[in-house]
Symmetry: D2
Subunit: 303 residues, 4 copies
């Protein structure tokens, strides 16, 4: 149950079997930092590559393909006083003819008041006026090394996690990822101070983060897609295009979870989803889109 | 501001320019009933065709193509003590190879306690045990006559509304629909006592309803896709396949709404969506899927 | 085996259960004309509505839901000396960011030399110079009344046929359509003098046509999607979005055809498709896209 | 203009920046062999990993990101006397409910008569009888190292090429690939003796190959997606899901090609595609689907 304080000096733009920066053990926590999506640190200096440079990988002793790694986000918080967003909605999330009318993209700047927990739009001036939002920090891109020896770019997502840009990966949440390489090889990066569903403008409020996470190794436990839970929900994540397929992946993974862990048969699980499921849109911007299938834990208690 | 009490005697399985059953005026309310998706009434007798038979159409005096019709759902409630669902998740919402494992679909039966506002699964017996859910009644299929003289089946959805199966069309919500035929021609049907996102098993708890709705005619006001609002949110609805396109329609419609009615320019509207938008999945079962784009009204007040 | 000479005076922009203009019998032929997609006739006068106005419907005596109607295109040919196309590729068939660069659409004009069987681009002047193509006349939109009492717009397609914009519906081809209303109700229109795969600019060379077709009624023969054949191929047609689903429909229909009519089991039909199938893109412009699954007849002879 | 005879001893299941097995130069040819999709060689011995093991990579001297590599397939031919296919069409290419009826997949065996250039189905026995097809050998999976330091699995495809399973990559064809890593790093594998469009059963006739290819380095020439040509056609390739997006990529790439190399403006290129383009389906089985956009060279001559 060691807490490791790790100061990164190099960053990756693929998730793959890179040289580990630190070896940790089941139950350990890591306190570290991440760069913003553009590779800038807490001082605003470009010290890493783009996009979505990853801190890590952290090698988890004993983790092997076929295991599951649980990563709890103990603390996700900006470590500087500003962030940026894109000013224009993405071309692929609106009708093609409407997309032709969109102005060029620029960069909007936000101040981040970490003490008060709010972000404020600084420029450009907009009809939103003094636009202030409560912080809801999340990691846009994190994961483990993918299967089959692949190295996958931080612009996209898959079974290994990656650039899911789902605002549900926030403080207090535990993410579950399928281990596909020895040591699992955990990567974290791409903090967003605030982000809407779908990352529709291609950004959240991009900033550098201080991050604390804790790993647990679930030996011999096999999952197919990222999962997660917080106090009130369990959820599964599908990453693919079109959204239909992302939703199929997430729904299939939830069905499997209900049937393997919650004692449900086909009818029970189907009935629960039919009447009670919720879906949330991770990103609809990256090469792979992200859909999340959620169920309230209150419905899963033994009866 | 008349309240019309209308007892239907025939039902439609297309939304089109059918003979009106009643003529109403801007501000009027209609109190009527709807059959369940299988054509059965409050006594359980099959008195209408399948699927999703519609009550109506109601002709709104003065409504013309290019106007918008607002329909407020004043009261949606089951008018009988039972409903039914499908027991198995739909083949198209799970991975194709997983779909091969699904058992055959049967019908589950639910009791509906209208006084206490709950539904309870009666059979089959499942691992869910005594599974009870609070009622959250909604209309699965409603709309106006489509444009271009089309008559569109109640299994699908489009700009005219139709079988959207979105649980957000519930009590207290106002839906906005683009008028495309003289008199608008309002149809209502397909009540669900409870339904999860996506209508993933192909049903909500299907039952017959008592319905009260109020219409307002917004002359000269043009919209392209269904919209809605309640006390806390405004939302827009896209109906298409794949979900990507449904989302594009809903997002485009929201952008247009923000820019035409809320004084926003491209950057303001994009920034608001980028950081604050929420998406909800209507149905992912019918020929056209439904995605909903939502924004909290609290963010839209003048500053 | 009567040949009916029919001069149309009204045209439809939905395929539905409209009043028949003529009653014909199994084996009969109809000689008639069609307007161009913009409603103009052989003299260039606008005498019908837009888009894709249909001549018909022709009522086939004895045709009932569950039957199949065969329509052989005996003669499809322009009946005037010019046509038009769109000058710019459609926004939905290119990458969204590329679509932003496209110039506005205009109308290109073509001369049609019916005697020599060629079309020539007249204006605008382009880098193509004196651009001349051999005529390959086809019907972009034709079909029967759809099922369920629907009336479906001539901008889109479905099981009933409609706006498939497939260049394979050309002279000498027989199309098969599922009868879904009494009398089948045959519609024809939207002649293209030449068209590429996908109708990528949203048009073929649009012109008015003289049309001769012959119907055969296949009693009690049920199909689910349009089919066709010529001397060398059989083919099936799926109409849906995305193309994936259109392809699924076409492939499923081909599997069913092989297994019901050609004595094949699962393995035979799969093996044939696996090694020998061809696909062609109908339209990728209309609300429903069109994919065609083809097999050479030479592979289907009894062995 | 050296001809290199290379006998592989190790194989890769990712395309990435692996250690080169040979360094070659612009204009050189390589004569080598490839394993079948299951890792078996000309003797039927499993000597490599699955799936689609790649021979290579071959380092092309002087190739740098931003260049284009041309690979001409001088000779693709089986080097053994048998191959195999899957017996059942893939679940994702048919309607979901139809997919539920499919029997389990097995392996069909084919003899390959290299002298006569034919393949014959040996078992199982099917309604196809003595089913014989002319060989049309092609490479299912080949490419260069992808951009951004990615290593991409041989089950899928992208801008770098990969598992496109397009029967148009056959003898005499030149493929063009965007160089994204120093030396380009050419991989070849996954020979199919015969394959239909779409690789609908998930296989062609899988066998080991003898391969001869010649490279040409086009310095400073930038392309975005694979391209190709033979004596009569030029073509571009998009790899993505859904097919809509694959088609968008291929069409965009063709538009760019016409405008950069053939002196066309927007209207010329759009007009040519609108009336003359052909599309072919590569695979619809792998994680990324493949669509091909083709134009006859006869239409591209200067006028």
């Amino acid at each position: 149950m060691t807490v490791h304080y790790f100061k990164p000096t190099l960053y990756h733009t693929t998730l793959g079997a890179h040289e580990p920066v630190l070896r940790i053990t089941d139950g350990d926590s890591v306190v570290t930092t991440t760069l913003d999506a553009g590779g800038c640190d807490e001082r605003g200096e470009q010290v890493g590559p783009r996009p979505n440079p990853q801190t890590g990988p952290f090698y988890v002793e004993g983790a092997e393909p076929g295991d599951t790694l649980a990563i709890t986000f103990d603390h996700l918080w900006p470590n500087r006083d500003y962030g940026y967003t894109s000013t224009v909605i993405a071309t692929n999330v609106v009708d093609p003819d409407f997309a032709r009318e969109l102005p060029p993209r620029e960069r909007a700047e936000w101040s981040i008041d970490r003490a008060r927990g709010i972000a404020r739009l600084i420029k450009p001036e907009t009809a939103l006026g003094a636009f202030t939002l409560p912080l809801d920090p999340m990691l846009g891109c994190f994961g483990v090394a993918p299967a089959n020896g692949e190295a996958i770019h931080t612009s996209t997502a898959g079974r290994h996690g990656g650039n899911m840009d789902y605002r549900g990966f926030r403080n207090g949440v535990t993410a579950y990822l399928p281990v596909a390489a020895p040591g699992a090889l955990v990567f974290v990066g791409d903090g967003h101070a605030v982000q809407g569903d779908g990352e529709m403008a291609g950004t959240g409020i991009e900033t550098s983060f201080e991050v604390r996470f804790t790993v647990r190794l679930l030996k011999g436990r096999k999952i197919n897609w990222p999962r997660g839970e917080d106090e009130t929900f369990i959820f599964t994540v599908g990453n693919a295009r079109p959204l239909d397929q992302a939703t199929q992946h997430a729904t299939t993974e939830m069905m499997r979870w209900l049937m393997s862990d919650y004692g449900m048969d086909w009818v029970s699980a189907s009935t629960l989803l039919g009447q009670c499921v919720r879906y949330e849109l991770g990103n609809m911007y990256d090469p792979a889109y992200t859909m999340v299938c959620k169920l309230p834990k209150a419905l899963l208690v033994s009866r």
